[in-house]
Amino acid sequence: MPKKTVPIIFIFLTFFYLGLFLLLPLAAIFAEAFRKGFEVYVNSFKDEYAWSAIKLTLLTAGIAVPLNVVFGVAAAWCITKFEFRGKNVLITLIDLPFAISPIVAGLIFVLIFGQQTAFGAWLLSHNIKIIFAVPGLVLATIFVTFPFVVRELIPLMQEQGKTEEEAAVSLGAGGWDIFWRVTLPNIKWGLLYGVILCNARAMGEFGAVSVVSGHIRGETNTIPLYIQTVYDGYSAGSSAFAMATLLASLALVTLVVKSIIEWKVKHRER
C-alpha cells in the first residue's frame, strides 16, 4: 500500500464524520427555516412571543455574563497569584456546574426558592418571584455558565506567573494599577474567549433554565425554550427553525471569533 493512502483515508473519514453530524444538521436547520420563503422566515421574528423570547435571552445573558466575568477574573486572580488555605477546594467547587446535569442544577433552585420551602413561602408572602420568573432564569444561567471564564483564565495566568505583578509592586504600583495596567492586558484574549464561550452557553442553555422557567409564553420563555414550545405545538414548524437559525448563527459567530482570537494569540498580537 502506498504511503499516502492512510492519511487520505483518515482525512476523508474526518470530513465525512464532520459533514454527517455537524454540517448536515446545520444546513437542515437553515433549509427548513427558509423552506416557505424568505418572507415567512422574517415573519417568524415578528411574532410577539418570539420577540419577547429574544429580549429575555439577551437580558439573561446580559446579566449572567458580566457577573461571571467579574467573578471569574477575581477567582482566577486569587487562585493563581496568592497562596491560601482551601485553594484546592475552591478549584474543585468551580468545576461543579460542569459535573452536575443542568436539570439537577435547575432543580436545586426550585428546591431553594420553590413555594414548598419556608424561604420560598416567605418570598411569596413578600411578593418576590424567583422561580417561574426572570430572576430564576438568571440564577440558573449564572450557575450553569460560571466555570467558563475562570477555567479559561486559570491555566493562562498560571503560565504567566506573577513576576510581572511583582515587578509592578516593586515599582510602586498599587493593586488597582497592577490589575488594569499589567494583569488585564496580559489576559485580555483569554478573557474574551472565556466571555464568548460563556455567552454562547448562556444564550443556548436549555436544561436548567427549562426547570425554573415554567414556559410562560411572552414572560419566561428564552429562545431555546421558545423553540421547543413552538416545535411541540406543531403550529408553524418553520417558525421554530427560524429561531433555531439564530442560535446556530450565534454558534457560528462564536466559532469565527474564537478562531480569530486563537490566531491573534498565536501571532502574539497586542
Binding site: 509592586v169 516593586s170 510602586g172 492586558p185 496580559n186
Partner: protein
C-alpha cells in the same frame, strides 16, 4: 552603612533557606551574593526588597540607611529590582515599561507627563536604547531587554538597586560586554547595588565586595581578592575556582604527599588544596617531593595551557600554566611527570569536594 540585614531566617515548609543571616552593605558599593543554586541568595535579595517574608524572631530586622523597613510595603521601600528573566511588561513598549513606575504615582508624588517623558528619554539614552522606545519586549534581544529592565528599575530613583542573576539568561559574549557596561554605569551613578550570581568569575570581576553563600549561610565576605586569595574554608576555595585536593603531611613547613591513602600517623596527616595555576610540573623528581602523575589531556586553546593528569590512584589533577612555560617543557600526552605544589592552603574542617 546602607543596607543592613540582621538575624534573618527563612523556611520554606521544612527547608531552611536562610539560617540567621547577618550582612552589611557599605554605601555606594556593588556587592555580589555568590553561591550555588539553593544557597539562599535569591531569597535573601527578595527579602531585602520586601517580596518575601522572613521569620519574625527577636532582633530580626532589615535596615535601609539605619532605619528599619520591615513595616514598609514593597512599594514604599523604593528599591529598584531587576528580575532574573527581566519580567518586562509584555504589553507595554520600552517607553511604557520604563515610565511605568512614574505613571503609577499617586497624590503628592505625581509628576507631569512632560517630566516623565524627559526622565524616561534620559534613561533610554543612559542604557543606550535610543530609537527603540516604541518597541515591545519580544522585539528586543536579550541584552536589550536586560537594559530595559535596568532602566525601568532606575526610573523610580531607587535608594538601592537589587539585581537577580542579571546576566544569567544571556550568551557569553553579550554577558561580558554588559558586565563591563554595568560596572562603568555603577561607577558613574554610585548607586548602592546588590546582585545575585552563581558565576564566580562574574562576582570577582564586577563586585567591590563578594558575599559567598552556601546552604543558607554566609561562608565568607570580603573583597574579591580577599575571598579568592584567602578563602576561609574549603567550600569558598572550591567555589571560587578549580581546585585540587591532595592528601599529605606537613613536615617542618614543607608538604609531602602520602602515596597511600591510609596513613597510620593520623594527627600529622592532612588534606590540602591547591589551585591549578599554583602547581608546577617537572619532568624529574627533584628533592623527591613531587607526586608522580601521567598527563591525560592537554588543552592549548585560550590564554593559558590547561593540562589534566591522573596520579597513581587514578585521581585527576588539573594544572594551568603559561604558554611560555609550556613550550619550555614541551609536555606530551601520556608523559610521566611530577607534580609540585607551589602554594597550598590547609583547612582544618572536614569537607568533601
Amino acid at each position: 552603612m546602607s543596607v543592613e540585614v540582621r538575624n534573618i531566617t527563612k523556611r520554606f515548609d521544612n527547608f531552611l533557606a536562610l539560617d540567621n543571616i547577618n550582612l552589611t552593605v557599605p554605601n555606594g558599593d556593588l556587592v555580589a551574593l555568590l553561591g550555588p543554586s539553593g544557597s539562599g541568595k535569591t531569597t535573601l535579595l527578595r527579602i531585602i526588597a520586601g517580596l518575601e517574608s522572613f521569620e519574625s524572631v527577636d532582633g530580626a530586622d532589615i535596615l535601609f540607611k539605619g532605619a528599619s523597613v520591615v513595616g514598609n510595603r514593597v512599594a514604599d521601600r523604593r528599591v529598584g529590582f531587576v528580575f532574573q528573566h527581566y519580567a518586562l511588561f509584555r504589553h507595554h513598549t520600552v517607553y511604557g515599561n520604563i515610565a511605568f513606575g512614574l505613571k503609577v504615582r499617586r497624590g503628592r508624588d505625581r509628576i507631569s507627563r512632560k517630566a516623565i517623558r524627559e526622565r524616561v528619554m534620559n534613561l533610554i539614552h543612559l542604557v543606550q536604547l535610543d530609537g527603540l522606545e516604541s518597541r515591545y519586549p519580544d522585539q528586543l534581544s536579550g541584552g536589550q531587554r536586560q537594559r530595559v529592565a535596568l532602566a525601568r528599575a532606575l526610573a523610580i530613583e531607587p535608594r538601592f538597586l537589587l539585581l537577580d542573576e542579571p546576566f544569567g539568561a544571556l550568551d557569553a559574549r553579550v554577558r561580558q560586554n554588559l558586565r563591563r557596561w554595568l560596572r562603568r554605569m555603577h561607577d558613574e551613578i554610585k548607586l548602592t547595588s546588590i546582585f545575585v550570581t552563581h558565576d564566580q568569575e562574574e562576582a570577582l570581576e564586577l563586585a567591590d565586595r563578594v558575599v559567598v553563600m552556601n546552604k543558607g549561610r554566609v561562608e565568607q565576605e570580603g573583597t574579591p581578592s580577599e575571598v579568592f586569595h584567602s578563602p576561609k574554608n574549603a567550600f569558598v576555595m572550591d567555589f571560587l575556582g578549580n581546585v585540587n585536593l591532595f592528601h599529605g603531611r606537613i613536615e617542618s613547613g614543607r608538604v609531602s604527599f602520602d602515596r597511600s591513602e591510609v596513613v597510620a600517623d593520623g594527627n600529622k596527616q592532612t588534606r590540602f588544596f591547591v589551585r591549578p595555576h599554583e602547581i608546577e610540573l617537572l619532568p624529574e623528581n627533584i628533592d623527591n617531593t613531587g607526586l608522580p602523575a601521567k598527563i591525560s589531556r592537554i588543552q592549548l586553546a585560550g590564554a593559558i595551557a590547561k593540562i589534566e593528569l591522573v596520579d597513581s590512584s587514578n585521581k585527576e589533577i588539573f594544572v594551568e600554566m603559561s604558554h611560555d612555560k609550556y613550550s619550555m617543557y614541551k609536555f606530551q600526552n601520556g608523559d610521566s611527570v611530577f607534580v609540585v605544589p607551589k602554594n597550598s592552603i590547609v583547612f582544618p574542617e572536614d569537607y568533601s569536594i
